[in-house]
């Protein structure tokens, strides 16, 4: 596609449930990033993939959060046992390589009730 695509655009889930957020990067982009943005804040780094492997997952807040990119393209961010504090906009970005600019998707707004 022309840009980074994230689905769903909105997700409402109950506390304790499991959710998956999907990111389709720009075709051919090897680097993929996940960020979380809370209201009034800047994007907060979660995890960065180079190809299929997680090059840096230091931003994942705890072991309830996990992300995969099995074929080096589409990525899924998985959140187990969701908590109300997980409510935020989850942004995905991709870049052609490490050393080129990142392009962001529109985000998935997650609301945990």
């Amino acid at each position: 596609g022309a840009g980074v695509s994230q689905t769903p655009s909105n997700k409402v889930t109950e506390k304790g449930k499991y959710v998956e957020l999907r990111c389709d990067p720009i075709s051919g982009h090897t680097a993929l990033y996940w960020y979380r943005q809370s209201l009034g804040q800047g994007p907060e780094f979660l995890i960065y993939f180079q190809g299929t492997g997680a090059a840096d997952d230091s931003g994942l807040p705890n072991d309830r959060f996990f992300a995969v990119r099995p074929e080096g393209s589409v990525s899924t961010l998985k959140i187990q046992r969701t908590e109300r504090g997980d409510s935020a906009v989850y942004l995905c970005a991709s870049s052609l390589t490490d050393t080129t600019e990142a392009f962001f998707g529109q985000g998935t707004r997650l609301t945990v009730v």
Partner: protein, 114 residues
Amino acid sequence: AQSVTQPDIHITVSEGASLELRCNYSYGATPYLFWYVQSPGQGLQLLLKYFSGDTLVQGIKGFEAEFKRSQSSFNLRKPSVHWSDAAEYFCAVVETSGTYKYIFGTGTRLKVLA
């Protein structure tokens, strides 16, 4: 640890006035530097970037930014603001000796008065 500071949370300017948004970073070497803009309910759009070379960079929508190594700054400027520029602006840095993750500032919300 690397950090980015945007000291102005809110800025209000009149349409047609000039604009400068401040960004300072802490990092030993020269990082990659970016400005992104975010309109309500939208994703982040890249305005401009600095990797190396000329320290004055031009971006889209008439924006420019100047990298000043001595001040660890990368301030965003526009000579004449349009009402459509009202949005939130984020400065970001990439540590070039690390894993190339983007570190963002907390943002500056720009309001434009007609």
